[in-house]
Amino acid sequence: MTAMSPIARGFHRRRQEPAENAGRVPPGQYVTKDFPVLSAGPTPHTALDRWSFSIGRSGRQKTWNWAEFRALPSQDVTVDIHCVTKWTKFDTAWQGVSVDTLLDLAGHDGPFAMAHCDGGYTTNLPVADLTGGKAWVAYAYDGQPLAPEHGGPARLLVPHLYFWKSAKWVRSLELRDTNDPGFWENYGYHIYGDPWREQRYAGD
């Protein structure tokens, strides 16, 4: 595809990534040291005493309140993240509960999941992408409670997919038989969203 791309004369790479980062930047992405914020509406502020997290089939979900959720075994993970708006950030450090842990407690029940969030945001994922040590419900970033604009009290963290799948303000993972599109997926973003295959938009 790039063979047909016109050469932009006078355009040059401005930032050379160090050699040790070779292979860490997916196609079309650039590395940022900032942590940009992108969301479709106002940042919700849910009080912790009104917060809960649920997982499972609709109508028979396992639910934890904040204290119960924080008492679950957690993991510290350091991962690279990739936003569909083209930025990649290396070595982001999170603390959260592995979705494996949550599903072990609730029971695996369905091949797909829809994440539901405060503010009405949704996103869809295969359960296979939430298991096997690949996904967390994270409540701390860089050793601090996760800031509201970055998804606090808790957000989904699925770093191997574009970051819109790592839903901010997540409140439940609803297990389903069908891979129904979520919020951005309904607006033409890719149903799966693998940054290494540059699956930004439907049909990519």
Partner: protein
Amino acid sequence: MAGTALRRRLTWQVAKVSAVTVETASVRTLTLDVPDWPGHQAGQHLDIRLTAEDGYVAERSYSIASAPGEPVAITVERLDDGEVSPYLTDELRAGDDLELRGPIGGYFVWEPEDGGPLLLLAGGSGIVPLRSILRHRERTGSTVPVRLLYSSRTLDDVIYQAELDQPARGVEVIHTLTRQQPPGWAGYARRADAALLAEVAWPADAMPLAYACGPTSFVEAVSQALVQSGHPPERVKTERFGATGGT
């Protein structure tokens, strides 16, 4: 809203720059001749792809500045430490090729049937998609009342200044200049916050449809102020760009 789903595959194509318009010292509008443009909605964006002679490729997203039905245009602010924007604002000339695909996004959009009143809140180059909405309103003959609050650093940083000085009927434009004001400036001279919105925004009981676009700090401030003063969150659409969001 999900009914506006976009399922068509977005393919890269080569457009031609038909005009470069100087908006401010650091901002240019690029009008593009796109041979196979499927049409867009006011508020959508597109992706640009630049390929260097050595094969290096960079992609960025830019809001569409023109109304549906007008030639596609993007407005780009040069970020001095950026990689793509300096090329678009300083190197590109009328007649040059530019690879793009779009349109993208379907949430931060406005159609006349969405109604109003419209409360448009722009910080810096966040004005770009809101300008598309303003032009779309005018071209479709919509009469929904509009208030635009536009926050800029200085008067010289105001994009589309001449156009905004002659607003269409029913459109009020309110400027605030946060860093420096010209002598005799009678407008606002402070950051957009709850107090400023209490003076200029439609009250919550007018049920405006709000669109806020700009840097994260601006969008967080105005969207939180609206929600705290009783505006339903689902009537407040936001588009944020971080410090490096549009390089």
